[in-house]
Amino acid sequence: MEKEILEHGLNYNRRKFLSRLSLGIGSMALGSLLIPDLFSSGSEETIMAGLPHFAPKAKRIIYLFQNGAPSQLDLFDYKPKLQEMHGQDLPASIRMGQRLTGMTADQTHFPLAGTVFKFGEYGRARAQISELLPYTAGVADDLCIIKTIWTEAINHDPALTFFQTGAQVGNRPSMGAWLSYGLGSENKNLPAFCVLLSKGKGNGQGVYSKLWSNGFLDSIHQGVQFSSGENPVLYLNNPDAIDKADRRKMLDKIAELNTASYQQFGDPEINTKIQQYEMAFRMQTAVPEITDMSKEPESIIKLYGPDCLVPGTYAANCLLARKLSENGVRFVQLYHQGWDAHGDLPGQIKGQCKDVDQASAALITDLKQRGLLDETLVIWGGEFGRTNYCQGKLTLDNYGRDHHPRCFTVWMAGGGVKPGVYGETDEFGYNIASNPVHVHDFHATILNQMGLDHEKLTFRHLGRRYRLTDVAGKVIKDLIA
């Protein structure tokens, strides 16, 4: 290894190195090597040196994105006032003329809709959690429940893009790409940033690969989508007729040919190519081992629920996320679709909760029993919340809810965050009463847990230094243990 590294180093040079800085600052930190004046120009590279910026609390993130926007009012933010005033109009003094989506802007009435679900109080913080989430309630003492997240976006695409990239529009790097860029990978067989998709039966909103894009960063920071089919990673599997030994044989020949080419041209890219083929070969062994659930003990299957053996389900993805994370994947991004209940919310949300409740809680329990929860930050939440008033026809026990960006609930666990309940919304659950957490603040806080100063993790592109938090955001200290 040492030798390989040094030999390769001889083919490289400082300028080339600098020109490829987008490969990742974290990646530079390999080995106790002396890096002299790479950063002497006093530019951002100086600032970037010495990452992480301070001792991290968390090393890895698993983000359980609830795509489509779960209703905070039916899950975490209990408002008896809405039940009292069921069917009455949302007072104008509360709405304050705030903009609505095109789906309800033309409604003449905004009848309040109290939840039909029962709530209980759980854990030391006496967190209110709906009967729909019994398993989540069981791990309440590990959760840091933020009831006052807010965003400016009121439609799915921009809101989701905002959560993932720090901007509502544009082609910016995703959070996982930023972390891969800033901190590099903890392993040499797997990508630093993996993406897992699943779907519920509720009204769905699509996801798009832009959400795990590297943006203007080098494409090695792009999220690698794992699929539930036979090829977990694009073209990972050799064709049926080629086994490992046979593949090795071909790779050796290819390496011989490429080495000859290198000797003739001296282009360091040729050597890099040789190494990439070796990495591909290692992935071919490492990935199937991780995606193979057959060796999981009965206790684990029981913990996550039987769905975890069905590839492509949320439960299976949670278990896979744990395994990837355990093996050093920096950022695992899950998306579960189906939360967009504009109508028949009580019916739809039951199914969605059934999909995610047990496995989300199991992930926390599982990480904890492995001693990994302290260094793994788990995040659960959607792109915005849902309105306290009904969209469409309101009956005694049925309603729909439109998009609501002004306050909603997201929870975090592990990774050095402080368990408890943070922030209060008003009695209508429409506005924030205390302790708002904007998406930029949320990002700043997450980066902080990873040992990164959100103002210093920058990349210069087209004349501007970009950050995940754009030009805003502050670390919410009260969320940190």
Binding site: Y12, S27, L30
Partner: protein
């Protein structure tokens, strides 16, 4: 913070490229602290030495943005920099001739954190010793300001004289050689004929040369043999396809509407027009005029109107519940950005919410430019996916009659009418306002359509205040950017790196040109010769600079590791689409139909389905069959939310926005594609089948496959490696250790069972190995 012990903590990284990056560090050593290799110029230039530092370190707080300006100090304008400081009485930021009395110099050279600039809180970092010394000398020499180079019209400098008069083949080479001589570099010999042919063939057509072409060129001993090849390649219709590829990135072309439901659209007739325009060699000034304002030309014909599809290629939302005006504004922002970045090479979009922080573009300038595009008839929202149509208003009908006459380049077999989104003006002009913070519902002051004065004055006696006026302003001979930006993009296409490296930013934060006189010479020459694109391309590929071999030496690497000064030929990986084209073409699978609706070749199962909302006709991937499986990469269907994965892995644009430059990465996912993508495996089988049916030995067949894929004859050493692999495989197949039938069972192209299956499979595997050579996807 990084310090002198130069010690980094240990961490692993995933990718080999990262390793290599790191490693170089081991060789650099701890010397050379402040980049002392950089020499102090005799005369310090504001534009080339000082402004880049000011822009990077100072303008954020002391630049053009009035709202963010600190201490009322502005350093981008001489009179303000020379004026008495308002917050430090009796002091001046700059006293020309006297660095010691200049507050600016005192602060940038100070060690006191409470006094020094930039401040520690800015996170901008201090200036290094060399930079401080530059300031000192510049102030001493009178602190003379100059206008930004890119905003002054280019001047045609005399072609420089060079010592080695024999080397240059045209004027370009004199400029390149003069710089090389200054830097102590000398050019390489000409590349061998085979490699040169491969390089120029990909650069002009995106396809490898045929064996016939290789033989002809090798046998042609006439002095103009190379020129004949160049001319022939440019006459090939594949030239238009190759040239269009870059423009599709600029124009963010796609086959779907983007955003979450992401339904199908039909903008491809516009794409067919781009190919046609390049093949017809439509001059660049017309090419732009038609795209910017073809619909407004007197007696505009349908071809000119179709060209305006350029501004309709961006995403359109079909999400229920959006606020139409929010998205209508979003579409105008996109148009403005595309015009700025793709055509003007400026980052005008930075002035959407506030005055530009570095360039002299105010927020008012931004909305004045925006106003040109704000008068279209289009709506912010035409309904959700359930009512989706293949084009949005305003649209143009393309009838069968059109396709038989003026628009005969549109490849459409169906008799149904086609529609395509184009530009169209409102009868009564829509008012445009500056939007506070760039927000759609916060209009403030009304503005009139005007192009950015800092680039070139918008003379309303000459230019109307509409898109047609903007088009004329854009192609005006005195516009300092249009020609420079385009020749730079083409230079990047040919040499892999622009003369201005930041292709999309010619502003103050952009990189300075490596060869400013050459860039200007090329730009003016281009305009003087009628904006003739084919002529420009020919100039570049005919140069001695281009024809050099790519070999590099330690000496060259030491002086110029990035090959900025071009002392050897460009060695670049094929771009994503051409990787596919190479595979299909060399195997004989390629179907050379031009244009038409995009196609859906092999793709791993479930990718569209997993990400889809389930709505719209693109919720599931319906793979095509037959010829549609073997079309060029540029015709692969681009669904914006899930762009073709093999393309993205090879750094293709995701077409979300205007892009003028692609990244060039080298990753394990690329290796997996070349090893396991059924496209490559099928090509290996089909080529093996073809060769196996021909007479000759296995060695002959391997040799021929090698020539088809690598585009040169294999060396003895290479043949030895491949032959030994073939022999080994043949043994394994014969001994049934490997399964020939299974190996050959890939792809839908017909199989030839009459051939001997063991040798066929062995040849297929050998060909697959050749496809995985680094050189296969490299122009060397």
């Amino acid at each position: 913070m990084f310090n002198s012990d130069c010690f980094f903590r240990s961490r692993l990284l995933w990718i080999g490229a990262g390793f290599s990056a790191l490693l170089l560090a081991a060789t650099v050593g701890c010397n050379n602290k402040n980049g002392s290799a950089e020499s102090m110029p005799d005369v310090v230039s504001y534009n080339f030495n000082i402004r880049p530092i000011l822009s990077d370190k100072c303008f954020a707080c002391h630049g053009p943005d009035a709202n963010k300006r600190q201490a009322h100090l502005r350093l981008d304008i001489a009179e303000s920099a020379y004026a008495p400081l308002t917050e430090t009485k009796g002091a001046y930021a700059i006293v020309p001739g006297k660095p010691e009395q200049s507050e600016l110099f005192k602060r940038i050279s100070s060690q006191d954190p409470t006094y020094q600039m930039p401040t520690p809180e800015s996170h901008l970092g201090l200036l290094n010793e060399h930079e401080v010394a530059l300031f000192k000398k510049w102030i001493k020499q009178g602190a003379k300001y100059e206008r930004h180079w890119a905003f002054i019209a280019p001047k045609k400098a005399p072609v420089p004289k060079v010592k080695d008069e024999k080397w240059p083949k045209n004027e370009l080479d004199n400029f390149i050689m003069a710089k090389m001589e200054q830097k102590g570099l000398s050019p390489n010999e000409e590349a061998d004929k085979e490699r040169l042919l491969k390089r120029v063939s990909f650069d002009l057509t995106g396809l490898p040369p045929s064996i016939q072409m290789m033989d002809d060129f090798l046998n042609d001993k006439s002095p103009n043999a190379y020129e004949k090849v160049v001319d022939r390649l440019m006459q090939n219709t594949a030239y238009g396809e190759k040239m269009a590829q870059h423009w599709l990135d600029v124009a963010r072309y796609s086959d779907s509407y983007g955003y979450q439901d992401d339904n199908i659209r039909s903008q491809w007739p516009w794409r067919d027009w781009v190919i046609h325009a390049f093949n017809e060699n439509l001059p660049y000034d017309k090419f732009l005029t038609w795209q910017i304002a073809g619909d407004m030309l007197p007696d505009a014909n349908k071809e000119q109107i179709l060209a305006t599809g350029f501004f309709r290629n961006h995403k359109y939302t079909e999400e229920g519940g959006v606020i139409p005006e929010e998205y209508r504004i979003e579409y105008i922002l996109d148009k403005t950005k595309t015009y700025g970045k793709g055509i003007m090479g400026i980052t005008i979009e930075c002035a959407q919410c506030h005055d530009h922080k570095y360039d002299p573009f105010s927020q008012k300038d931004y909305y004045e430019l925006f106003a040109f595009f704000n008068n279209t008839k289009e709506k912010g929202y035409e309904g959700d996916v359930s009512t989706s149509k293949p084009a949005k208003n305003p649209l143009m009908q393309i009838t069968q009659e059109d396709r038989q006459k003026l628009l005969s380049f549109i490849n459409y077999k169906d008799t149904n009418a086609l529609t395509v989104s184009v530009m169209g003006e409102l009868d009564t002009a829509r008012k445009t306002y500056i939007l506070k913070r760039g927000v759609y519902d916060a209009p403030s002051v009304e503005v009139q359509p005007t192009a950015v004065a800092a680039i070139m004055k918008y003379d309303t006696t000459k230019f109307q205040r509409n898109r047609l006026g903007l088009a004329e302003w854009t192609i005006d001979r005195n516009n300092p950017l249009t020609a420079r930006v385009f020749v730079n993009q083409m230079w990047q296409e040919v040499f892999g790196r622009g003369l201005v490296k930041t292709t999309g930013d010619f502003g103050m934060q952009g990189e300075l040109p490596s060869h400013p006189e050459l860039l200007d010479w090329l730009a003016i020459d281009f305009m003087e010769h009628g904006w003739d694109i084919k002529r420009l391309m020919k100039q570049m590929v005919m140069s001695a600079t281009y024809r050099q071999s790519t070999k590099t030496t330690d000496q060259k690497q030491g002086i110029d590791p990035e090959n900025v000064y071009l002392s050897h030929g460009p060695r670049n990986r094929l771009t994503a689409e051409f990787v596919r084209d190479m595979v299909l073409s060399s195997s004989g699978l390629l179907v050379r139909t031009i244009g038409g609706p995009s196609v859906k070749p092999y793709q791993p199962k479930g990718l569209w389905e997993a990400a889809s909302s389930g709505r719209g006709v693109l919720a599931t991937y319906q793979q095509d069959h037959g010829d549609a499986l073997y079309r060029r990469g540029m015709y692969t269907f681009i669904k914006l939310t899930v762009p073709p994965p093999s393309m993205i892995v090879f750094d293709a644009s995701n077409r979300d926005q205007c892009e003028v430059k692609r990244l060039k990465t080298n990753t394990p996912l690329q290796a997996l594609i070349m090893l396991n993508d059924p496209t490559v495996l099928e090509a290996s089988r089909v080529l093996a089948q073809k060769l196996e049916a021909e007479p000759g030995s296995a060695t002959d067949k391997i040799n021929k496959a090698f020539r088809l894929i690598i585009c040169r004859k294999a060396t003895d050493a290479e043949m030895k490696i491949l032959q030994s692999y073939y022999d080994d495989q043949l043994q394994e197949f014969k001994q049934k250790k490997l399964d020939a039938q299974k190996t050959l069972n890939v792809g839908e192209f017909h199989k030839n069972d009459r051939l001997e299956q063991n040798s066929l499979a062995s040849l297929m595997k050998t060909i697959s190995a050749i496809y995985n050579m680094e050189e296969a996807i490299t122009k060397s």
